[in-house]
């Protein structure tokens, strides 16, 4: 595992396409029976 100084002259740069899945917000249980569901957003 390496961490570099990106200001070095020999740095290379790649633009990445990224797909993420994010855990539901951490909070106390709601009163209703709401369960997990999945939604999408396209920024």
């Amino acid at each position: 595992m390496g961490v570099l100084d990106p200001r070095t002259n020999d740095a290379t740069y790649r633009r990445l396409a990224v797909v993420t899945v994010t855990e539901a917000e951490r909070r106390a249980p709601p009163d209703d029976d709401e369960d997990e569901e999945t939604s999408e957003s396209h920024p």
Binding site: V3, A17, V18, V21, T22, E23, E25, A28
Partner: protein, 201 residues
């Protein structure tokens, strides 16, 4: 212990363009399935198991089987978010294990202790951090990192000393990200041989 209600799974798809040959297409479909939800649960269970005496196979993950790599394996990053702050982030330009589930388990444990830019994650912090799993393509080589939209695209910065990855939303501008050196980037494993071209348009 604070109860947790998984109310809404937010799936964010961030990519600038798509094509029929896009290696991430299968992953875009995957993150909208229950298997992706379970993968998050696997990561959390593995982190909880890290502090317990339970054997590796006893992690309290949901029992349903998980579909493995939806397509050809890609880079995977695992981030722990505390509100708007990146608490820890690790990953690799190349898969670290043969299966997706094993890769995520390995990254989950690494996120707790191996992000050198942050203190190790304490057990009690798990209650409030959110797990984010990101899949990325190999990327398109750029001469100028300023061409990246940091709100939409990832940026992989490489050198003989290593790689760091900025995932979408982690930096407000590329200039700011680079000025912060690697403070907001994902720690990555040793660089791997990667093609120097890219077909994404």
């Amino acid at each position: 212990m604070i109860g947790v209600a998984a109310a809404t799974l937010l799936v964010t798809l961030a990519a600038s363009s798509r094509s029929a040959s896009d290696p991430l297409d299968a992953y875009r479909r995957f993150v909208a399935t229950p298997a992706a939800t379970r993968l998050l649960a696997v990561a959390r269970a593995e982190m909880e198991r890290y502090w317990s005496d339970a054997p590796a196979d006893s992690a309290a993950a949901p029992p349903d089987s998980i579909a493995d790599w939806p397509a050809a394996p890609v880079a995977v990053y695992l981030t722990l978010r505390d509100g708007a702050t990146t608490r820890a982030c690790v990953g690799s330009p190349a898969p670290v294990r043969a299966s997706l589930e094993a890769t995520v388990k390995a990254l989950a444990v690494e996120a707790l202790r191996a992000d050198r830019r942050h203190p190790v994650v304490r057990r009690e912090e798990l209650e409030r951090v959110r797990v984010v799993i990101a899949f990325t393509d190999e990327g398109v080589l750029l001469a100028d990192p300023m061409l990246v939209d940091p709100g939409r695209d990832g940026l992989l910065v490489g050198s003989p000393r290593g790689h760091v990855a900025f995932l979408p939303g982690e930096a407000r501008t590329v200039r700011w990200a680079l000025s912060r050196r690697s403070a907001w980037a994902c720690s990555t494993r040793a660089p791997t041989t990667r093609p120097t071209g890219g077909s994404r348009s």
